[in-house]
């Protein structure tokens, strides 16, 4: 499986993401700069976390209008898998690749801590290594992770199994509707989530609960 990591001014979790992809797949991802429109032939494109364009206007709003996003939209339509983490999730929502919006945390505070996630749908390309209902640990670090969608959209994504991760056991850190932590598109090849699975993949991180997401999407699940 070949992967690519998108780099934009202000994204700062790209190195963690590159390390996770390299360690888990055995191959370093290609890096793609925001102005590129001719994307490499890869199976997975990852938009990492950070504060693209200083979170000006709205988180992810400026990044979502950069040339590379048009190319990513075309790749997603062609079936290439796309993963957005934290600011990457915000960018995918602003770009219209995922339903809903992320608003300021209900507490109005930046939250940086570990939460528990429930795997709400384990029958996706991103979560096959987990069991449905499995509770995993995962770090979060964000100011605008409060997921919102209108009632109709919410009913649709819940009905389609597009809610992939929920905050579990009262750990919702931001006021998200239905404790939603991660959603995918109807086709199932674009996933966005606020928590950082790339920061919990090995013993040095204090656990490896995040590894399953990368093992699933990179197709390296141990037999």
């Amino acid at each position: 499986m070949k992967s690519a990591v998108v780099q934009l001014p202000g994204l700062n979790r790209d190195r963690d993401m590159i390390a996770a992809l390299t360690k888990i797949s055995g191959t370093a991802p290609v890096t793609v700069w925001q102005t590129e429109t001719d994307l490499p032939d890869v199976d997975l494109i990852v938009i990492p976390g950070g504060f693209s364009y200083g979170d000006y206007l709205r988180c992810g709003a400026i990044a979502a209008r950069m040339p590379v996003m048009q190319a990513i939209k075309a790749k997603a339509e062609a079936g290439v898998k796309v993963l957005g983490v934290c600011n990457g999730f915000q960018i995918l929502l602003e770009a219209g690749l995922l339903p809903g919006a992320l608003m300021r945390n209900a507490s109005l505070k930046f939250v940086c801590r570990e939460v528990k996630l429930e795997v709400a749908n384990a029958e996706t390309d991103f979560t096959r290594a987990y069991e449905k209902g499995q509770i995993i640990r995962c770090p979060v670090a964000h100011h605008d992770g409060n997921f919102f969608a209108d009632a109709e959209t919410l009913a649709t994504i819940e009905g389609n199994g597009q809610v992939v991760f929920r905050y579990a056991e009262g750990t919702n850190p931001n006021g998200s509707l239905n404790d939603i932590a991660g959603v995918m598109n109807a086709k199932g090849n674009v996933l966005g989530l606020m928590p950082h699975p790339e920061n919990l993949i090995e013993a040095a991180h204090g656990g490896s609960d995040g590894r399953g997401l990368f093992a699933s999407v990179l197709d390296v699940i141990a037999a």
């Binding site: 709003a61 602003e94 507490s107 409060n146 919102f148 969608a149 006021g175």
Partner: protein, 80 residues
């Protein structure tokens, strides 16, 4: 040249935690009976055209494409 003001506000039904916090702060300053505060954004723009219809159409496109997130926000356009 045409001067314009775009106002972006949260849609009804979208919770506004910042508005709530401002409401609380006004209360603690002694301003009583202030409710339903909603925080929004204002953009002042200058357009190098004399064609008001084109300006209005362009501003609408700017709002739909960038200035507002129409999942959660409404906008109004006013030409000076």
């Amino acid at each position: 040249m045409i001067k314009a003001r775009v106002t972006v506000t949260l849609k009804n039904g979208v919770l506004d935690p910042q508005g709530k916090a401002i409401e609380g702060a006004l209360g603690s300053l002694g301003f009583e009976g202030v409710g339903a505060i909603r925080q929004g954004k204002v953009f002042d723009l200058e357009l190098q055209t004399a064609d008001r219809a084109k300006a209005e159409a362009d501003l609408k496109a700017m709002c739909d494409k960038l200035l507002a997130n129409t999942v959660i926000e409404n906008y109004t356009i006013a030409l000076a």
